[in-house]
């Protein structure tokens, strides 16, 4: 049966792993959203060269497995003289990978807003940056928020890939415990509950954000 004593005994390990997972997810999300939005705006813009650069970036990150990207980050960065911990190498790889996906989500949101309001804002004298920031993005993000929420939840589960380079996040802590106790069932159960809590917290956060951004009727 599920050995709850075992879970209690190894609770510090599980909590430590959950904390690392949360950090990976939070930092990864932040990079993903900020950088992804910038890329999305560029991709929806007029500069052909920059648009092409974004296309290459997105193709690279979406077209190769994240596992390889994380391994590459750990192996290649030192060659370039960049010495960062495995945690940061993995988290950055995960964050930039996420930004590739989010850039496409944002871009579709921008397309949704349409040129009409953009032209009206331009005629009123707003600069391109102001148009993007005050007119386009608020509406674009509001529209694609559910899609972004999905991407972030995926990110929490993908954070487990950091384990392949040694980061002691939740699933690796689970392996640690499994290898010592040989009790897979209990650990799978505990870890499932932990991931469930993390993804639920995130969903709730996205839901709150959606409510804040809602601007239809009800006034």
């Amino acid at each position: 049966m599920i050995d709850f004593n075992l879970i209690l005994l190894y609770l510090p390990n599980l909590l430590s792993g959950a904390w690392i997972t949360l950090q990976i997810a939070a930092i990864g999300c932040t990079i993903g959203i900020f950088f992804g939005t910038i890329l999305g705006v560029i991709h929806a813009g007029k500069n052909k060269l920059l648009r092409w650069c974004v296309t290459v970036y997105v193709t690279a990150f979406r077209g190769t497995p994240m596992l390889i990207q994380i391994a590459a980050a750990v192996l290649l960065l030192p060659q370039l003289g960049i010495y960062i911990s495995d945690f940061w190498a993995a988290t950055l790889a995960i964050g930039f990978n996420s930004s590739a996906y989010i850039s496409q989500i944002i871009r579709s949101g921008i397309d949704f807003v349409g040129t009409g309001q953009i032209e009206a804002a331009k005629v009123l004298g707003m600069s391109s940056i102001q148009v993007t920031r005050y007119i386009v993005l608020p509406q674009a993000i509001r529209v694609v928020l559910p899609a972004i929420g999905n991407e972030l939840i995926t990110l929490i589960k993908e954070s487990s890939l950091a384990s392949t380079v040694g980061v002691m996040e939740l699933s690796k802590q689970a392996n640690y415990i499994k290898n010592r106790t040989f009790d897979a069932l209990t650990i799978y159960f505990a870890v499932a509950v932990f991931y469930l809590i993390l993804t639920t917290l995130l969903s709730f956060g996205v839901h709150l954000l959606e409510k804040k951004m809602r601007y239809h009727a009800e006034n």
């Binding site: 331009k122 005629v123 009123l124 004298g125 007119i135 009727a217």
Partner: protein, 239 residues
């Protein structure tokens, strides 16, 4: 006086505007009349720096206008066919946002300007509502108010009646006439012949990128046969 001189625009080998010239005085309404695709909307868009030109000049009171800067100088404003109000902002914010971000007005000043305009256009009670709750006519009034907040000298209206209930045409015409009386230079692009009958304006009939006939509305209504092309267009006959 607004002097539009020899505007030509060619796009992908097709001549959209061919050497178009016209003058509009203060308080005057110039109506560019014609079918879809003759270039009337394009001319308005060019004046608002939404399209480029291949040749030609535009001057106001004998000073040449740099079209690339015209938005920043707020010399001109445009009311779009679909109004293009900002969906994520309230009615009041639609007016204040550009005042605050572009003219850098304080929140209070922007607020005052917005209140005055909203009151004048009968939208004061809706100021905190989102634009999705407005009717078409209300959205248009908002679009006009938003533009007037910048006190442009020139006002363009692209197909002002096509997105509205035909019963509103008289209201729209009255509103435009009022603005002309206040001294604005007004240019309208439309194919709505009912509108011109309610306006005191100068009609410029366009075909294939050129102005082919012009007449004051009063003159036309009294001597329709002197203006065969306009007459044919108004009566829906293909010439």
């Amino acid at each position: 006086m607004l002097k539009i001189k020899s505007i030509t625009k060619i796009f992908h080998g097709k001549t959209i505007l061919n050497n178009v010239s016209l003058n509009v005085e203060r308080g005057e309404i110039a109506v560019l009349l014609g079918e879809s695709g003759v270039g009337k909307s394009t001319l308005l868009r060019i004046l608002n720096n939404l399209e480029t030109i291949d040749s030609g000049t535009v001057s106001l009171d004998d000073k040449q206008l740099d079209l690339a800067q015209i938005n920043q100088k707020h010399t001109i404003g445009m009311v779009f066919q679909n109004f293009n109000v900002f969906e994520h902002l309230t009615v009041k914010e639609n007016i204040t946002i550009a005042l605050e971000k572009v003219l850098k007005k304080s929140k209070q000043t922007a607020d005052e300007i917005a209140q005055r305009l909203l009151a004048h256009y009968g939208l004061a009670d809706k100021q905190d509502k989102y634009v999705s709750q407005l009717s078409g006519g209300q959205k248009q009034r908002l679009a006009i108010a938003r533009t007037l907040a910048f006190k442009p000298k020139i006002l363009c209206l692209d197909e002002p009646t096509s997105a509205l209930d035909p019963l509103l045409t008289t209201h729209v015409a009255n509103g435009i006439q009022e603005l002309a009386d206040e001294g604005y230079i007004i240019l309208i692009a439309t194919h709505d012949t009912a509108l011109i009958e309610k306006l005191n304006c100068i009609i410029y009939l366009m075909k294939a990128g050129s102005i082919v006939e012009s007449a004051t509305s009063i003159d036309y209504l009294q001597h329709k046969n002197a203006y065969p092309q306009i007459k044919a267009f108004v009566e829906g006959v293909i010439v």
